[in-house]
Amino acid sequence: MRRAAPILAAAALFVLPLAFMDARTYVTLTVAGLAMGMLIFLVAAGLTLIFGLMDVLNFAHGAVFSWGAYVGFSVALLLNQRWGWATAPSVTLNVLLLAAAILAAMVVAVGLGILLERVIVRPVYGRHMFQILITLGATIVIEELIRMIWGPNDQVMPVPLTFQGSWDIADVIVLRFPVVAIVLGVLVYLGITLLLTRTRVGLIVRAGVENREMIQALGHNIYRYFTRVFAAGSALAALGGVMWAMFSQSVRPAMGGEQLIFAFIVVIIGGLGSVTGSLLGALIVGLSYNYVAFLVPKAAIGINMAIMVLILLLRPTGLFGSGK
């Protein structure tokens, strides 16, 4: 019950904006906020697991996100230019384009993730300062490679026709792509949760997050699991990258860095190592950002910082943090 109280209080806070706007605006903003939250969650989930399992703060996570976005962008561009899969009024082709972009981005990200883990992170296990420095160095390189390959400027991401525009449900305008993002986010969360709670690998990963030493003393090679988690986290970041590119209809080399800051705030709010905490934190950040951006546009960025500081004051280890 003591755990439920703050959650209920938080839920009440999210009804509050209704007092300052009409219901239709509220629904629109809520959908946008949930979508944004889900996309941040995709980035934060990998980050939090990587941290929880191996105590590695991966600053290169944002750069992987950007790579995912750009690979997805290239695939989408190619498919659209060749066969017009984005502009075709066919739901199947549109969905295929999205799927192909996501798949390609995730495959590349898995490779990039394994490379990062083996070459960059592994030599500096257990030394936080060098981890942060080295992953930051990797970020510079990865981001600059994007600028070298795709050029330094913003580019327009082709969005499939099906996902453009909005549905008009009982006079409420609901944008289509955010709904897709929400559905995808829910699916990913369920997928991660099932993987963690229903499979043996998930069991070992959960135990490893709690006590890295003991899981080794029980005979499990934690490094093997960590490579997998790193690769999976990178794939999620890439998925987030493609979705974000479509959400904002553009790709930029620095997009990952900005998302990483959101993801950090989310991970701190949710508690390091907790996937559910990340989801909750991401939704809090996404929703409050959108409400505040509508009501007091200039305070939008500040609200996330304020929430983070407030939560750190109340629960220094975050909502679901173990405090280890």
Partner: protein, 383 residues
């Protein structure tokens, strides 16, 4: 007092004092200072003077970052933000309250220092109490927030365009103080020596800081936080003190920077690039060396000044090659690779590596016995 009555610490300090003037380091530092002082007298080029002033400022800035990173062992991404606070505080104070006076200048510095001290204590209290790693994440978030604020609060900060304050009295561009020994005394020249003097004072203060009991406690915490905690130190209080000290120094330097370039915009004093430059400089010079910043700043700022020329050269040689052009445009890529290689292979930077090499060649009998468990790689293990 006889030798035998001394505590081990006192004996070590005495030995250190005795060795001090037999080592090359103090003379090298002095040479750097003399060199910097001679620049305006010998080389009449503004470009060189500009470079020298920026090197002085950044060398001290890197040193102040090193106090936090190398001597306290916590990673901050907010150091450029504190630099920016100083820059904006001085620029605002000079530009927004009528004709600039020395009082405005001083008030700007004081306001910046007060703001930085408050913010860094707050950030430290929120993050270091829980986990030192939070510090990196939270400072990054704060830095981004400050950047956005500086861009958005156009009516105060001038937005992307920034502020271009004019300096009072002897620092003003228009100031002419006659000639001194054949050298025309201009506002630029006065400002240059003023900044050089401040950097010198800051270096002395920082060197005193790291050798003070507080500084030694911080290094003990860095090397073994649990043990320091067991000895009864409230480690996070010390860490907050040190990060705030470093931030305040950075703020003063931000003010100096604005006095020199007479310009502050989000990109040049708050941006992520300032932070990246700082990191590169500290890595190149050497973490935990304090004076490494001189080498790091000299290397990076000089190469950044020369890079445009290199690019023009490359463009003329490989005319028409798009890939080549892109490759030369992306010089940050090479700095990134250099950064990674430095962290992997020379984690102690230029100064640390040279120091080690010297120590190996001439093992002094009075130095401490060989470390039984040298850290696998790097001088600053943070466990």
């Amino acid at each position: 007092m006889t030798e035998a009555r001394l505590t081990p610490v006192q004996r070590a300090r005495q030995a250190e004092r005795g060795r001090r003037f037999r080592q090359p380091a103090p003379y090298l530092r002095l040479a750097c200072l003399v060199l910097a002082a001679l620049v305006p007298l010998v080389v009449p080029s503004f470009q060189v003077l500009d470079l020298a002033a920026k090197i002085a400022i950044f060398a001290a800035l890197v040193a102040s970052y090193d106090v936090v990173l190398g001597y306290t062992g916590i990673v901050s991404f907010g150091h450029a933000m504190f630099f920016g606070f100083g820059a904006y505080a001085v620029a605002l104070s000079l530009g927004k309250f009528g004709a600039p006076t020395y009082g405005h200048l001083a008030a700007g510095f004081l306001a910046g220092v007060a703001l930085s001290a408050t913010i860094s204590v707050l950030i430290g209290a929120f993050s270091l109490r829980v986990k030192a790693i939070f510090f990196a994440m939270i400072t990054l978030a704060f830095a981004e927030f400050a950047l956005i604020l500086a861009v958005q609060l156009t009516h105060i900060t001038g937005g992307e365009d920034g502020l271009s304050p004019t300096l009072p009295g002897i620092f003003a561009v228009s100031y002419e103080g006659g000639r001194l020994g054949g050298i025309p005394v201009t506002g630029r020249l006065v400002t240059y020596y003023f900044i050089l003097a401040i950097c010198l004072v800051l270096f002395v203060v920082m060197a005193r800081f790291i050798h003070s009991p507080l500084g030694r406690t911080l290094q003990a915490i860095r090397d073994n936080e649990l043990r320091a905690e067991a000895l009864g130190f409230r480690t996070f209080v010390f860490q907050i003190a040190s990060s705030s000290f470093g931030s305040v120094v950075a703020t003063v330097l931000g003010g100096c920077y604005v006095m020199w370039v007479r310009y502050a915009n989000p990109e040049s004093v708050l941006g992520i690039h300032v932070m990246l430059d700082l990191l590169l400089m500290v890595i190149i010079g050497g973490i935990g060396t304090l004076y490494g910043g001189i080498i790091g700043a000299t290397f990076l700022l000089t190469s950044q000044t020369l890079l445009p020329h290199l690019r023009t050269l490359a463009a003329s040689v490989f005319a028409g090659s798009m890939v080549m052009q892109r490759m030369t445009e992306r010089w940050l890529l090479y700095f990134g690779i250099l950064f990674i290689l430095m962290v992997f292979f020379f984690p102690k930077g230029v100064i640390g590596t040279v120091r080690d090499a010297l120590a190996r060649r001439a093992p002094s009998p009075s130095s401490s016995p060989p470390h039984p468990d040298p850290p696998a790689r790097g001088g600053c293990p943070t466990r």
